[in-house]
Symmetry: C2
Subunit: 526 residues, 2 copies
Amino acid sequence: MTGEFEQSSSSETAPARRGRRRRGDGERATPNLFPQKPFRQPRHIYKPIEAVSADELEAIHDASMRVLEEIGIDFLHEEARQLLKSAGAEVKPGDDRVRMDRTMVAELIAKAPSEFTIRARNRAHDLEIGGDAISFSSVASAPNAVDRDQGRRPGNQQDYRNFLKLAQFFNIIHCVMGYPVEPVDIHASIRHLDCIADMIRLTDKVFHIYSLGQERNLDGLELTRIANGLTPEEFANTPCVTTVINTSSPLRLDTPMLQGLIEMAKAGQVSIVTPFTLAGAMAPVTIAGALTLQNAEALAGLAFAQIVRPGAPVIYGGFTSNVDMKSGAPAFGTPEYMKAAIVGGQLARRYRLPYRSSGVCAANTVDYQAALETTLSEWGAITGGGNIIKHAAGWLEGGLSAGFEKFITDIDLLQKIAEYLTPLDVSEEALALDAIRDVGPAGHFFGTEHTQARYKDAFYPPIVSDWRNYETWAEAGSPIAYDKANMLYKKALEAYEAPQLDPAIDEEIAAFVDRRKAEGGAPTDF
Amino acid sequence: MTGEFEQSSSSETAPARRGRRRRGDGERATPNLFPQKPFRQPRHIYKPIEAVSADELEAIHDASMRVLEEIGIDFLHEEARQLLKSAGAEVKPGDDRVRMDRTMVAELIAKAPSEFTIRARNRAHDLEIGGDAISFSSVASAPNAVDRDQGRRPGNQQDYRNFLKLAQFFNIIHCVMGYPVEPVDIHASIRHLDCIADMIRLTDKVFHIYSLGQERNLDGLELTRIANGLTPEEFANTPCVTTVINTSSPLRLDTPMLQGLIEMAKAGQVSIVTPFTLAGAMAPVTIAGALTLQNAEALAGLAFAQIVRPGAPVIYGGFTSNVDMKSGAPAFGTPEYMKAAIVGGQLARRYRLPYRSSGVCAANTVDYQAALETTLSEWGAITGGGNIIKHAAGWLEGGLSAGFEKFITDIDLLQKIAEYLTPLDVSEEALALDAIRDVGPAGHFFGTEHTQARYKDAFYPPIVSDWRNYETWAEAGSPIAYDKANMLYKKALEAYEAPQLDPAIDEEIAAFVDRRKAEGGAPTDF
């Protein structure tokens, strides 16, 4: 209810204006379009919802332990299997299958930290992970970009950079967990080099490297180290960067993912192990069954990371949803998705691990459906106790496109959620007994001192919602949220300012990228 | 996760279709557009969120008690003041102000039932009120109707009737708590007669009468009695109909509202006392202050009803929101609104009263904003433990219009919420260990027996969400949810069937309406 808006529009608009003199020519008349609060991670101030009882949670746990004990997981990586065998897993020569008993899994998982900090190159943007801390990340990994002006197109470097600028501009975006859109106009062998350099230069927030072969992980780790100005020894003990390890559901961890998990754990960096357990496709059609599979696969990967390096920072990722049974396509923000997100949080807390969830939808454009599905997935993520909410701004089409207008409408949703997660002020002054007494029956609170002292920051000022009355709105051409967001994303790009970067670091990054390009980049036969 | 869809679209669309013979000419090829489950009230199966601590809740309670004790409420009704005085309140001759001490309030509120049933003329549509039961009501009291075909227009009888048909058609609408739109083409003196007769004939769900003068209450009560086929004695002991008592915030209960409260309580019928405490306008600019005022006003009305008739069925209504500080217009679905809705639920539970909340927005049309604000207000209502969620389908523009397309998009939201509120099946079969074993690594669950036995009813089938892939959707003209909803509301009206009504009751209603019209209806000088 309180707190200063960093760039408040209120001063341009509120009651005090009535008596104000006209501005001189030199003053800007444009009200600030983007009132936003300073960078700050929202906190879970309300208890998470529990969608299953403690007994039911144990039933899911038990079933997933039986998956690991009786069925096992295929680890498509010889070194990984040897490490697992040494740690006590059942591994047979010539067989990818690895079986782990529940004691082994529990002991390994217990080594993972429940809470840690990820360092950003701008230390004001360090991320607290786990506990009651929440981080919102921009959309990641979309093959296409879309906006109204240019329509839908395969991702390219310019779109990629523009999304990074938006992620930097909005304080409610806490990190960039992956390329918002895949810039396919950059050759795959060197794409990671250019993309990571852009993430470092255009943002100063925590970012992400992909696990698409060992070389890319190693390049990404080195670029991150340089960006943070750390020695190799310091870097090895300072989480600075994340990767997502997706299992190949059902029951398989493939080679690049295991390479990534190994390199990230070795380097003391953060792996978010996220099975894509789509009920009815790669997972059982029942949500409880899909969660059983999710839990088995996530714990297999997370436990393995603790073999590579005990104490390696890891995050439990939940991404269980259901398919559209008509088409087999993934659906998001469904009632089933909400329940899975909430139970995913219960599971992560059971293992004392930070929890990653998502803000996602299946809509093709920025309409009622997009808002409904996105808000319901956030409902699941937030009430489920999510610590990192990925894809929280810009996601469309089940992840097949990143939308510029959607980015803006989601910013409004996220800012609202952050405000909802601030404690209600129940102080003597806020209870307002004196104001109620002074105003009395049939009065009005607008002109009271109690109101005048607070109105500027009393309420969250939305950036997309159009609160004009119907007549004024109709005269203005009946714009929908999509129209306003189209205007706003371009204004935000105009207002973007590149964060400062030490020129020496900038040069070192350029030199590294140039050298690795000259060496041919990374293999593309993955 | 389980349960039969009453009109399932799945059988037309799912995998089994592949091998099916072509339909004969006589068979309908149109898949059912409205898969819906049978009429059933959702239940609060998750614990409500608590946005303030027990101490903070007591602080709000204490402040509101001080409002009632020290400041008092104006009761603009001589008989009401006398009743209050007899019950122990401080009332001075010639002064509207009534002060009650907290012991008196607590003793009166304790007489109100925590749970009760409201009888519908179709007993299958009886409503459980309070406890873990939830009811969704259609939009009420909008002065305008809007759809894409005819635009926005003042409410008329045809629109009114069409909204009633939609409310009857969709099983997720449990009651009709007010005229969805005000039919201003019917003269105000007889409008209530025609409107109530329509509610009885076009729906068989629990409905609502307005407290706009004693005569209207009495007419409404008698029509309700006739519709339910009850003797006067039976009716006096059977809650069958609701009214909303809005306080004139701040601190006033006006004459027609008190007349309504008296007649409804005398008749043993249901009053929902709902202050419209808009922070920054009719209430303090702080949400805690607005809640203090809400609580004082609601309890004043609710306590008064218990003086009129101890045990009278009542509901605690919360409608606190904030204004748009630019225009003074009410805003809805804001972060402040969500907190107020949740704390409202904590207050209602403190007094062991059923709780009424709302599904509302300030949007002018069915866009991202409408979905965002509506879903956030439902988030507050549902996680706050709301028992009756009013305005849950069709509300637009802060209540200034009822939208036909919005009605449909909201139905999708409500059905999703109902599905979210069904328990997750965590049975041995649902955990799917055998299916996971059978499929094994790198397999697919689509063709398994476990999936085939369940896919038809495994997931909620949305009515608005368009899950076609981008290319197919673009070829179809890139329809947005609004477009689909425009088509669907007309299909729903076509599919509507009037509920059965005993011809003798129908005649009795007609006779009553004719007689009261001949008598001139009700006064219009309110």
